[in-house]
Amino acid sequence: MSMNSIRDTFFEECEELLEALVEGLAQLEEAPDDTEVVNAVFRSVHSIKGGAGAFGLDRLVNFAHTFETVMDKVRDRELAVDEKLIGLFHRSGDMLSDLVASARDETELDDTNEASLFQELESYLGPGGEEEEFSFEAMTLDIDDPSPIAIDLPSENASSEHCFDIHFKPFKTLYENGHEPILIFDALAELGNLTSEVDLSGIPSFDEFDPSDSILSWKLRLTTSEPETTLHEVFEFVEGLCVLEISEGEAGTEKAGKPTVLEPVREAEEKAIGTASSGDGTASSTTEPNATPQSTASEKQEAGAPPVQPKENRGPKPTLRVDLDRVDRLINTVGELIINQAMISQRIEELDLPTVAHLTNELEAYKLLARDIQEGVMAIRAQPVKPLFQRMSRIVREASDATNKKAKLVTVGDSTEVDKTVIERLADPLTHMIRNAVDHGLEKSKDREAVGKDPTGTIRLSASHRSGSVFIEIADDGAGLDRERILAKAIEKDLVAADAELSEPEIDNLLFLPGFSTAGQVSNLSGRGVGMDVVKNAVQALGGRVSISSTPGKGTTFTIVLPLTLAVMDGFVISVSDQTMVIPIASILETIRPNARDVHIIGTDSEVVSVRGSYVPIVDVAESLGLTERQGSRGNGILLLVSTEGNGLTALRVTSIHDQRQVVIKSLESNYTAIRGVSAATILGDGKIALILDPEELIRLGHSGCADPLMPQNKMELRHG
């Protein structure tokens, strides 16, 4: 592993740690007294500091250190967590994330913010507290909560005095990470009577002396009434950075029981070295700062010592970074495998062999395996939106600070999995929309109180899978769109004619016009000339669409609908005219084979069907797609009842339904362009392509009639067929 890749790993870990930090702070808001949460937050900051120390990122270390020190006071219960402190922690977390980013990208960071945060943080520390607080005494805090451990302890252990022999040999990295043995010893001394003996035998001759190397080791004897786990907690933060053996003996007797060894388990070799209790020099030089600390729980069990309950899964999960192209190629190939399997099945059926039972079984197994592979491969690309949503909480914080409004972010469905590319490319538009929601959507606290609302505005960010699409909603509970002002503005900017009569949705959609900005006064947040049109373009580039709905006094909701480009979808295989197509099952409420007397004609050629007493408009799919001419009698076919965002219930008429199956979604855009009414394509068992219909768009096409001014009206013909 080169230094660079270690560095990359560190920054990757930082991402995870920062995520954990944000999450922890959010939890802390809910439960300010939860020791576990405080510890988790502390550990995140501490781990970042430790790693940063190893890479000589002083600025990051300094800030993390001050941050951590204040956090430490919270752990010690010297400081109570209040709203102000949480706010400071949030901002410090943001700063930390900026510092990490600037260290990673090696860019300069404006330090005015940093300085003021420093001051604020330090105001929580006593005078001259800085140096003293550079200690790990606070780790003893966990004694407050020994309950999960005490259960496993024989009762006598809890009260009587024990004598522990501790062998402690720090690795070089322990010092590099900014740990100081004397402080650990101080913390131990607080637990009871401590005697120490330093082993100087490792000191080489002066010529060979390397000041940065770790040479000393210690033998400590601690007489205490505390259980062994408490001792481990003292060493918690140096776990993996030293050879540590703690063995228990009766006071004054020889040590008994097997030693407990904490060592990094990065590689089997090192494990062997670490377990050798001598703690020889090689172990110290080969250990890397990012080695995964793991306690060897099984050994502890054997030793008969009280088992240390793993507090949480510490350390980064092992990850693999793979080129996206490779994953995509794999996905494509697996898609082909599925199709190939279907074709083989079909061919074998066609052969009409006399005894195919065993063959069918094997084929079935083949099919299941292929599906398993496919699911696994797909899962590589799909990622939960959680990290993206978490980033947004910062945007809300910053935006509400800048506008002097009170706002909180509520996220829903953050485990919804979305394609990685989509997540990456959604960050900017989402940031913009969240800022807008705070800046334009929410009213000032005073105004909110005046109309009887909670002075703190709520931005609700939610994600869900619906009808084969990903829905992301950004809803505020603000005043709603001021349609009069929007229209006035649009007329002023010459975007619409002064005498134009626009419907409410049309007025709302003016927001998406280029060069439109509603802010009465240009704030430094939004209104920079970058408008919702940028958002719209970004979403469209992802093959999605944005829509607005707004209720005066209640708030505004923006909905982003994105296609699941790489997902497998459950669909009905249907016939439309003479073409085979697929319609997402998720969007279909029910299928109806209508009686002639249930279908009624309104006007010249609009049709409705009566479904349990209510009239539902019918949209003929073939007509919407321009496959057939509009005609008086269309035959009954089969109606698929769908519920849509804008148009309520609608019945889609298709010729027939053949099958229900999982289909692999293939993008049409990659080699061609998007087509209205069609969301993607798929490949059927016979190798032919079937189009996947987009019910929403079909209905829109159906309602506007076929005469879409943007599209040339070409009747489709199958030639060369």
Binding site: K666, L668, S670, Y672, T673, I675, I683, P712, M716, H720
Partner: protein, 154 residues
């Protein structure tokens, strides 16, 4: 391609010639991925006349254009000998339906003549140059132009 051709140091170029709408065209061999027999395609709604539909090329969905119709020479009539030339432009793969593929043509750079100023700008844009072979003229197709008009549509 005329521009790139000038920049390139090799003087020898290989083209595949084919006929569409009764005229002779060619494409540089490096742009062609494969040549396939015609198989029925899946038609697309709301598309112009010259977009025949989409075809499954080993898992990728590729559009098939009727080259003759694209160049305004009328639809290619159904025929057993019709073939689809699969070509790549940038990151996109497309298929072109043509009447038949004739031969591989190896020519010197100097043998490629620039398209003279003709009345139709569209035609001048879609034909990069001309090569004279045994008294007949072969037109060098500008694949970008085939795609551009398509993208312009949407």
């Amino acid at each position: 391609m005329a521009d790139t051709a000038e920049v390139r140091s090799e003087t020898q170029f290989e083209f595949i010639t084919f006929s569409a709408g009764g005229q002779s065209f060619c494409l540089e061999i490096t742009q062609i991925r494969e040549i396939r027999r015609w198989t029925p395609v899946t038609a697309l709604p709301h598309t112009p006349e010259d977009v025949l539909g989409v075809m499954n090329l080993r898992g990728a969905v590729i559009p098939i254009f009727d080259l003759a119709a694209r160049f305004g020479l009328g639809s290619t009539p159904a025929n057993e000998r019709n073939v689809v030339i699969v070509a790549a432009v940038g990151g996109t793969t497309i298929g072109l339906l043509v009447e038949s593929v004739s031969e591989i043509l190896s020519v010197e750079k100097s043998a490629i003549q620039e398209t003279p100023d003709i009345k139709s700008d569209a035609t001048k844009h879609s034909i990069l140059g001309m090569i004279s072979v045994d008294e007949t003229m072969v037109r060098v197709v500008n694949l970008d132009a085939v795609l551009e008009t398509e993208r312009g549509m949407s």
